[in-house]
């Protein structure tokens, strides 16, 4: 009998501690959730957004919209000049050499061209594949029309691949290709 | 006669044997240094005072480090055993003649402190101290110890392009124009003294002839390089250079005869020596071909240094044991 009491005590104590901890964590998590998201956007995507939508006068992180297309949620950053939106940017993903990479694509709303491309996160080999994050590669996307073939030249496209990093270059192009068709829908929703 | 009445009491007592071959550790070290002297003269005649400066600074800082550390560790000071001198000389040999003095001092100090004394001083080092020092230099100041950059300010009658860099960058066709005999005679960029391939080889053969080192490690090293390079070369001779090229360029000779044969960081059993040397050669070529870094010798030797205690477990059967058990 004594044994059973001990077992029950063990179960009760461990469960209680776990429960208290679980509820505590849930509370703290709920409390910090919003701020963490903001921090993440600010630190992970913030620098890229600022670079792509350079010239905007508003707070890019604050002026973001969540838009759902085909049940998928996109966070769209809107760049404004003198209060009027001139560009937007959102993130899509592609597959590089080391795995998934997140690519942010910026669009010029006025000319309907690409305002720029930036890689927000990647797992490419440092010094080799990671060279796709450098400006010399990403700037080749700038000002391209939406109908351009976003493939590397070896695959019949218009983009110069980084030497020795064909797979990574392909990954970026794939992300852009995936992102461009969404533009019109997103534009509509943003300007609504 | 009871011991109280015995006359001669002050005789020397020692265990057998009562004679010795006559060699000593410092003798071996100085033989190493003598074997390197021709290359020292070569280096000074080619690079002038710069080579002399590098060698002098290197030796001085290695010996000073040894002295200071032994004092600090309260160990008997043994800088006259020639080991620190040899370490300094070897460090100078693998650095280009243009390196700044502070780089040599840092390298030598690290070599002696972390490479040698931390492991227990003479006989304790698992890695070749100089190579350990060299690695930290390479991590920190790769441009300074780049052989091509180092040779730019000298008027030399050969290309300042480091052959292995050329091979890495432009493929085997770019190095096929090189005269191997020329490279072998020392007309290539490289370390202050290490580029004198022929003289290093002569020094190494001298060491073997004097019985200071065994032939097993150096020759199995060269065999390892040749064999591995041959495999690649036979597979695709347009892409990979031939084995002879791999042997005559880039520190293979000094690595085989002077670095891989370091007593404390190489195996002592005969079979293990052969495997060790061959492994060094294998990894030298693999590092050269498969890694970004064109120079594989030092990393290969350091890598095999890790394996040597394991290799030393390969020991021959005891003949008496076989006899008794049979």
């Amino acid at each position: 009998m004594k044994e059973y009491i001990e077992y029950i005590k063990m179960i009760v104590v461990l469960s209680t501690i776990s429960a208290v901890c679980g509820f505590g964590l849930a509370a703290i998590s709920a409390f910090t959730k919003e701020r963490i998201e903001e921090q993440k956007l600010l630190n992970v995507e913030g620098p890229t957004v600022k670079k792509i939508l350079a010239g905007s006068t508003n707070d890019l992180i604050k002026d973001r919209k969540e838009i759902v297309i085909n049940k998928q949620k996109y966070i769209v950053f809107i760049g404004k000049k003198n209060g009027a939106p001139w560009a937007l940017a959102y993130t899509t993903d592609g597959t590089g050499f080391g795995g998934e990479m997140s690519v942010m694509i910026g669009f010029d709303l006025i000319n309907d061209t690409l305002a720029g491309v930036g890689i927000t996160s990647h797992k490419e080999t440092p010094g080799v594949g990671s060279r796709v994050t450098e400006d010399s590669f990403t700037k080749t996307f700038k000002d391209k029309g939406l109908n351009a073939v976003f493939k590397i030249k070896a695959d019949g496209g218009v983009i110069d691949a980084v030497t020795g990093a064909t797979v990574s270059s392909r990954g970026v192009c794939g992300a852009v290709q995936k992102g461009v068709p969404l533009y019109q829908d997103i534009k509509k929703q943003v300007l609504k | 006669m009871p011991s109280s009445e015995i006359k001669y009491r002050n005789l020397v007592i020692s265990s057998a044997p009562h004679i010795h071959e006559g060699r000593s550790y410092s003798g071996a070290m100085y033989t190493f240094i003598i074997a390197l002297l021709p290359a020292v003269i070569f280096a000074i005649s080619r690079y002038g005072m710069d080579a002399a400066r590098v060698i002098a600074v290197s030796i001085a800082s290695a010996m000073a480090s040894e002295y200071i550390i032994q004092k600090l560790f309260r160990k008997p000071v043994a800088i006259n055993d020639g080991n620190a001198l040899l370490m300094g000389l070897l460090m100078a040999f693998i650095l280009p003649p243009s390196v700044p003095w502070w780089l040599i001092v840092v390298g030598c100090f690290f070599s002696i402190l972390v490479g040698k004394q931390i492991f227990g001083g003479r006989g304790g080092n698992t890695f070749h101290p100089v190579l350990l020092g060299w690695v930290t230099l390479r991590f920190s100041w790769a441009d300074y110890i780049n052989y091509s950059y180092g040779a730019i300010n000298y008027t030399l009658n050969f290309s300042v392009e480091y052959p292995l860099h050329v091979l890495k960058k432009s493929g085997a066709a770019a190095v096929s124009g090189l005269n191997y005999l020329d490279l072998f005679l020392g007309n290539q960029v490289g370390g202050t003294g290490a580029s004198a391939v022929l003289l290093i080889l002569i020094g190494g053969l001298f060491l073997i002839a004097r019985g200071v080192i065994s032939w097993r490690i150096p020759f199995s090293y060269l065999a390892g390089v040749a064999a591995t390079a041959s495999v690649f070369w036979l597979a695709d001779s347009a892409k990979y250079a031939d084995p002879l090229f791999h042997i005559v360029v880039g520190n293979v000779m000094i690595g085989a005869f002077f670095f891989a044969t370091d007593y404390s960081s190489s195996p002592a059993n005969k079979t293990a020596m052969l495997i060790f040397g061959f492994g060094c050669g294998l990894f030298t070529v693999l590092f050269r071909i498969l890694s970004n870094n064109p120079n594989g010798v030092f990393f290969a030797i350091l890598f095999m240094n890790i394996l040597f205690p394991l290799l030393d477990k390969i020991r021959p059967a005891v003949p008496g044991k076989v006899m008794k058990e049979a």
């Binding site: - | 001669y8 005789l11 057998a16 004679i19 003479r122 404390s264 003949p319 008496g320």
Partner: protein
């Protein structure tokens, strides 16, 4: 050169492990040549090599153990002990009985019933560097040795008898090998290299291969067995090589029990402070801390080394150069054995086959760091033996006698 009989001889009697072995003697008692001077049996049995009166009995430590020493004032005329009688028709006796009789009398012959030797090897190579006694032994005892070989051939049951000699002793060996028209042994010429003369190594040096369990015996020991069987007491003389500080060698025939100081005087060698006096050859001899030790049957040479020639072997760190591995005749790793011993890892020494070390001394001879490798190894062996004893697994030493004319030690 024959060394004269000294005025006073010293007889050494080895003490047994438990300290027994005091002789059945007292001061003033007179002893006769060939008489037993200890009560013990087997290996500890000792016979007197001289006639005289006992002057003093005391303990004498030697490097290899404790001994009881008996000082005897010798008389010029040898009187043989009346109990000293040979064994009639010993040649026709049953082999097993003969072997056990020899064992009981202090001789050790490694012949076991269950495991017969597959060859008899007469080892005429010198036991150590600079030793050169076998020429004299073969010259003087040739006939006895021939009889001995016949006996050994009979009691060992082996057809193969090999006389292993260096080239320059070939003629002596041929004489020993042939008895009238019958050839009793084959002569195998070996290079006089060290350590071929050690019983563990010599089977491998022979031109005949495949000998697994030989009976190896030196000519002097064989002679002493026959002398004992024929006369009831082992020989009273021993051949030694006296080596002076310039490595000049004199071969001497010495009465066992003669103090070394007496021999040095006769050989005209002075010894002074900080010199080294070695009992045995250069590679395996044991240094002695004074010159009053007597010649015993296990000493083949006496060497005096000048103070300037003394080699200092120490405990500098091993640098792993591998020289010792290259020279070890048993392919051991002396550097590892010494290191394990230095740090008291004796069990590891056993894993690395320390039991197969024959203490030839070659590793320490070539050691780059001049480490006292043999010293470390011997130390580890002793510690292991002690541990085995403490653990109550006392191992019978199968290292029984070889090479010693059995008188009076062993």
């Amino acid at each position: 050169m024959d060394v004269s009989l000294p005025k006073q001889s010293v007889l050494l009697i080895k003490k047994s492990a438990n300290g027994e072995g005091m002789p059945a003697l007292s001061s003033g008692e007179s002893i006769k040549t060939g008489g037993k001077i200890s009560d013990a049996e087997g290996k500890l049995l000792a016979y007197s090599p001289v006639t005289g009166t006992v002057a003093e009995i005391y303990n004498l430590p030697r490097v290899d153990g404790d001994f009881t020493a008996v000082d005897v004032n010798t008389s010029e005329n040898d009187v043989w002990d009346e109990n000293c009688r040979g064994i009639d028709n010993y040649f026709d006796r049953e082999p097993g009985a003969l072997v056990s009789l020899l064992c009981d009398s202090g001789f050790a012959l490694d012949i076991r019933k269950d495991e017969r030797p597959d060859a008899v090897i007469l080892n005429c190579l010198e036991s150590d560097l600079l030793v050169s006694i076998n020429r004299n032994v073969l010259a003087e005892y040739g006939d006895t040795i021939r009889r001995g070989l016949r006996l050994l051939k009979r009691i060992s049951g082996s057809d193969i008898v090999i006389i292993a000699v260096p080239g320059d002793l070939r003629d002596f060996a041929e004489k020993v090998a042939v008895d009238g028209s019958e050839r009793i042994a084959v002569v195998d010429l070996l290079k006089p290299l060290y350590p071929f003369g050690m019983k563990e190594i010599i089977p491998r040096a022979l031109s005949r291969k495949g000998i697994r369990r030989p009976l190896v015996i030196t000519p002097e020991y064989l002679n002493s067995i026959i002398v004992f069987l024929e006369h009831g007491s082992p020989p009273v003389h021993k051949f030694i090589t006296l080596i002076d500080r310039n490595n000049v060698r004199i071969n001497m025939k010495v009465r066992i029990g003669t103090p070394i100081s007496h021999i040095l005087r006769e050989g005209n060698i002075k010894i002074s402070e900080l010199d080294k006096l070695v009992l045995g050859g250069t590679m395996r001899g044991k240094s002695s801390f004074h010159a009053e030790f007597p010649v015993t049957a296990d000493i083949d040479a006496i060497m005096v080394q000048d103070r300037d020639a003394v080699v200092t072997l120490g405990n500098e760190a091993c640098v792993n150069c591998g020289k010792c591995i290259g020279v070890c005749p048993n392919k051991l790793q002396p550097h590892l054995l010494a290191r394990y011993s230095e740090f008291s890892l004796f069990e590891r020494c056993r894993d690395y086959d320390i039991d197969y070390c024959i203490e030839c001394g070659l590793c320490a001879y070539v050691c780059t760091s001049r480490r006292a490798l043999v010293h470390y190894i011997v130390f580890a062996k002793k510690e292991l033996a002690k541990m085995a004893k403490e653990g109550d697994h006392a191992i019978e030493s199968d290292n029984i006698g070889e090479g010693l004319a059995c008188h009076p030690v062993k």
